[in-house]
């Protein structure tokens, strides 16, 4: 069973619908026991990091998430929460090294970074990227992003390159919205569902 973590600030319907389209059973939950017993956990999120972390703390889920051993996928803000902290002013989960920063774009590119942009695959061997190639388009809506670093497995460029996908052990993340990224997004979710547990 895939558990979609109800952080209280996310659009959960579209994530669950994407899993339904893949024929995968999922449950929206904030129950620690359900999360601990799931064989996949998805951490969605939109909005501000501080509000999301406050919600996770209130629900007593910070340590529960950190201790998960099954594959975990953070989406958009959910991925940003995996890092140490966010420039938005929040201490995050501290699972992946680094700080999420406001996108600083050169020139006069509009913000938020909104729309379809291309992936550049850095770690083609990662199971999450099975069948995904450089140049594939995915859908973004965000103003903050993690700089490209050692755990980056794919990057995207908007004025500057940033982490599109990250992976550290069983914790993975997408800055874009796979649930709204057409066939490429479906493939990434399918890879996540079907990958071998570490």
């Amino acid at each position: 069973m895939i558990a979609i973590l109800d952080s209280g600030v996310a659009n959960l319907t579209s994530v669950q619908a994407a899993l339904d389209r893949l024929g995968a059973q999922s449950i929206i939950t904030d129950d620690p026991k359900v999360l601990q017993n799931a064989n996949r956990v998805i951490l969605p999120g939109v909005g501000a990091a501080e509000a999301a972390m406050t919600s996770l703390k209130k629900k007593g889920l910070v340590e529960v998430i950190r201790a998960l051993t099954c594959p975990v996928l953070g989406i958009c803000l959910g991925m940003q929460l995996l890092f140490d902290r966010s420039e938005e002013g929040a201490e995050c989960l501290g699972i992946i090294d680094g700080e999420v920063r406001q996108l600083r774009v050169l020139g006069d590119l509009p913000l938020p970074h909104m729309g379809w942009n291309q992936l550049e695959v850095l770690d083609a061997a990662h199971p999450l990227l099975n069948g995904i190639k450089t140049g594939d388009f995915v859908y973004y809506v965000h103003s903050f992003a993690a700089p490209v670093a050692g755990n980056t497995i794919a990057q995207t460029t908007y004025g500057t390159a940033f982490t599109a996908m990250v992976a550290k052990g069983n914790f993975m993340g997408c800055q874009f919205h796979p649930e709204r990224s057409g066939e490429t997004g479906s493939r990434i979710l399918k890879n996540f569902i079907e990958m071998e547990n570490a």
Binding site: D108, M114, G115, W116
Partner: protein, 255 residues
Amino acid sequence: MLAKRIIPCLDVKAGVVVKGVQFRGHEVVGDILELAARYRDEGADELVFYDITASSDGRSVDRSWIKRIANLLDIPFCVAGGLRTADDVRATLAQGADKISINSPALENPALIDALSREFGKQCIVVGIDSREEDGDYYVYQYTGDDKRTVATKRRTLDWVREIVERGAGEIVLNCMNQDGVRRGYDIAQLAAVRAIAPVPLIASGGAGAIEHFTEVFQKANVDGALAASIFHKKIVAIQDIKTTLAQQGIPVRK
């Protein structure tokens, strides 16, 4: 490269897609799920659903179609029309809409933009502007959904653009009324004027009638997306043909 977006707009009334027939009400174009699937398959980058269902007796309208669309689509979509309060917006996003768009309610109560942006994040708050050129300047119009109620506001369009960005709009759809429905091309001068001062994504609306209008609006007004309705509903041009032409001109598109 960030792709330029092609965005079909569907008018929804009581759960079906309609098109306006001037002074004679609305004619049903088709089933909302079928049309949404058709545009998705043809390569639309995003869809806008403009709910024109009247709520004359103040009851909330049936929006159960939003959840069915959210389940069906694997591309983003925006819901516009009839959203007046944070509760309306919360319910719409909870049904699975990625973005919402407000227009007249923002003019009645500009602080609504601040409140929505704070609660839901600016990434999902789109502000629509109906604008018309008069005597060499651009002015905002209100209640354009109903001919009898449409009024000119005293707001200059460029002032309103600056204000809504300041208040937290995450994207602007600029509907240029001089061009609307005539299919003679987007209002390049007006869109370029707004582009020059808008630091958020800008979507062009009103006037698309041929493939070259899309090339022109991206090259000359540097908008982020182009919205159109009748040329897609009437199958005057195909989305893939637009994208092929744009790509040949060196404009980035998602294939």
